[in-house]
């Protein structure tokens, strides 16, 4: 039971993290290849504050705040570049974060931060907390998508210049997407640090940014349910199929490639297409 609870907790964290990237990349069309840095910012802040004696629950909003603020700074920087340039810039932010953490002794350096104090919650309680936060995030995403802001995000993703012509303050919405998305990533980071009780620079590198991107892509960029299912499945795969453990990256890489090659809309599009085909068959 202990194992199942732990697996479910890490699935919820993955889903939350993937939803946060989906807000930026899926909703607003701003591709980010360094999203794990924000998971890391949240994780480090929460872990260090916990070690300084601040209760775990109080560190979560602070983790969100810091990650969100740095997200806005990165967003501000990103306003000057578009599409491919943005992908490379965000990738750079990821490398920068890992590079800084690795060289700073007060952040644990190469060794990372270990022995993170307990949250005071039982394993079950912590799982329920992550599950609740995860569901709240999904609902928030669904709400945002239906709102005016979500529609503008979609417009920016589809055709930024047209939105400008329509008189919409595109930079403001891009920054909003960055702020919300990175703050949620910071939240996921706080939970991540508490769940594993250990964090190090390698937990937030390029591979992790790509892993979460593959969750978003495999689920279906832009679709909330698709991304949630994609993240849940991909994060549990290595646990369900032990033999995948060693080949995890091969599976992720292969899936990324095959999905893009044959169904760029991800599983969400695949399912829609299959339903469409089934309906078409009947008609």
């Amino acid at each position: 039971m202990e194992y199942e609870i732990s697996l479910l907790t890490s699935m919820c964290i993955s889903v939350l993290f993937a939803l946060s990237l989906n807000l930026i990349t899926g909703f607003c069309g701003q591709i980010s290849l360094g999203h794990a840095a924000f998971l890391g910012i949240g994780a480090y802040l929460s872990a260090l504050l916990c070690k300084a004696g601040i209760p775990f629950l109080a560190t979560l909003p602070l983790a969100m705040l810091l990650a969100g603020c740095i997200g806005v700074v990165v967003g501000l920087a990103s306003l000057r570049v578009r599409a491919d340039f943005l992908a490379i810039t965000t990738m750079g932010v990821g490398f920068l974060f890992v590079g800084i953490v690795r060289q700073q002794d007060w952040l644990g350096g190469e060794m990372g931060v270990s022995a993170i104090p307990d949250s005071g919650l039982s394993k079950m309680g912590f799982m329920l907390l992550t599950l609740a936060l995860c569901i709240a995030t999904a609902l928030l995403c669904l709400y945002i998508r239906k709102s005016w802001m979500g529609r503008v995000f979609n417009g920016v993703a589809e055709d930024e210049d047209t939105m400008r012509v329509l008189g919409i303050d595109v930079p403001r919405y891009k920054l909003a997407a960055f702020a919300i998305g990175t703050a949620l990533a910071g939240l996921a980071g706080g939970l991540y640090a508490q769940h594993l009780k250990f964090i190090g620079p390698d937990s937030f590198g390029f591979v992790e940014s790509i892993t979460v991107l593959s969750m978003v892509v495999v689920g279906g960029i832009g679709s909330v349910t698709g991304v949630a299912i994609g993240a849940a499945v991909l994060s549990a795969l290595p646990a369900w199929f032990q033999f995948i453990g060693d080949y995890k990256l091969l599976v992720y890489g292969g899936l990324l490639f095959l999905m893009m090659r044959f169904s760029p809309g991800g599983m969400a599009a695949l399912v829609t297409r299959m339903i469409g085909a089934a309906k078409g068959g009947r008609a």
């Binding site: 810039t89 750079g92 920068l96 800084i100």
Partner: protein, 287 residues
């Protein structure tokens, strides 16, 4: 003295970056695709270089085989992966490319083992002294000379031969080029072959410099390569070349003066971000 040494080391590293980034630039100029999987060809070149040299004792044969194999694999990547994606939004090809690269890295690890391969008798390791004091390994001098030679040949081919001009025309205006009877497919194949062969060439050199090839050796050049083509202004061969050398030198100075603050990769990307904030169009692009 330290100053000159740092510049020299930077130029050696920059030459390797240039060889990798040139292929990326050729692809970006032609198809507007960020070809991350390019680095897999670099690693492939490294492995073939070591294996052929160990088996036959001939370094030149190793270069030929590594370049041809990398070139052909590059063309296969284009045909099987990128060509069907040209009509999709750009991120589709980017993500597919990342996926392809990760898969390749894992395949190298599974096939050749995680610990890597080395030369049994590494060639070109003698120290040479230049300008009264600067120490170089023969391989380091050769990689700088080799890069310069290859780039000179490329520049000649690009401006003086039919196929080179066809390439340039296709980059600047594909439709116009097509209407003048240039076969786009052929130009793209050749482009991928040449760019990929250069990556294979660079792979053999890095294997010589480090006397080691490992599955992950492509990561750093790949991401740096992307940074370099952005710095160089996306798609400009001359800009890429300059940016590669500049980045090599910036890194070698950075590791000495900023090493306590940031690691080598972080220095490169910090430089990239600062440059992009000041010049969003890249370091060497005409605005």
């Amino acid at each position: 003295m330290l100053f000159l040494e740092l510049i020299a080391q930077g130029l050696v590293q920059g030459s390797i970056y240039a060889l990798v980034a040139l292929g990326l630039t050729l692809v970006y100029g032609l198809l507007r695709i960020l070809h991350v999987a390019h680095a897999a060809l670099f690693t492939l070149g490294g492995y073939l270089g070591v294996m052929v040299t160990n088996a036959t004792g001939s370094l030149s044969l190793a270069f030929v085989i590594a370049m041809v194999a990398a070139g052909l694999t590059g063309v296969a990547m284009y045909r099987l992966c990128y060509e069907p994606m040209l009509k999709q939004p750009p991120f589709v090809a980017l993500i597919a490319s990342i996926g392809l690269y990760i898969a390749f890295e894992e395949i190298f690890r599974i096939v050749f083992g995680a610990s890597g391969l080395s030369y049994m008798a590494p060639p070109l390791q003698q120290q040479v002294e230049l300008f009264g004091g600067l120490q170089f390994k023969q391989a380091e001098l050769m990689v700088m000379a080799g890069t310069a030679a290859i780039i000179a040949v490329l520049a000649y081919l690009q401006t003086r031969t039919r196929i080179g001009v066809a390439c340039q025309a296709t980059v600047s205006d594909p439709q116009m080029a097509q209407s003048f009877g240039i076969k786009l497919q052929q130009v793209r194949d050749i482009n991928f072959f040449v760019g990929s062969a250069l990556a294979g060439f660079a792979g053999v050199w890095v294997a010589l410099l480090n006397n080691l090839v490992e599955p992950t050796m492509g990561s750093v050049p790949s991401y740096k390569g992307l940074a370099i083509i952005v710095l160089g202004g996306m798609g400009s061969v001359r800009g890429t070349l300059m940016a590669a050398l500049v980045l090599g030198v910036v890194e070698s100075f950075g590791t000495i003066y900023l090493g306590k603050l940031l690691d080598r990769n972080a220095i490169a990307f910090a430089f990239l971000i600062v440059v992009l904030m000041l010049r969003p169009q890249g370091l060497f692009a005409r605005s």
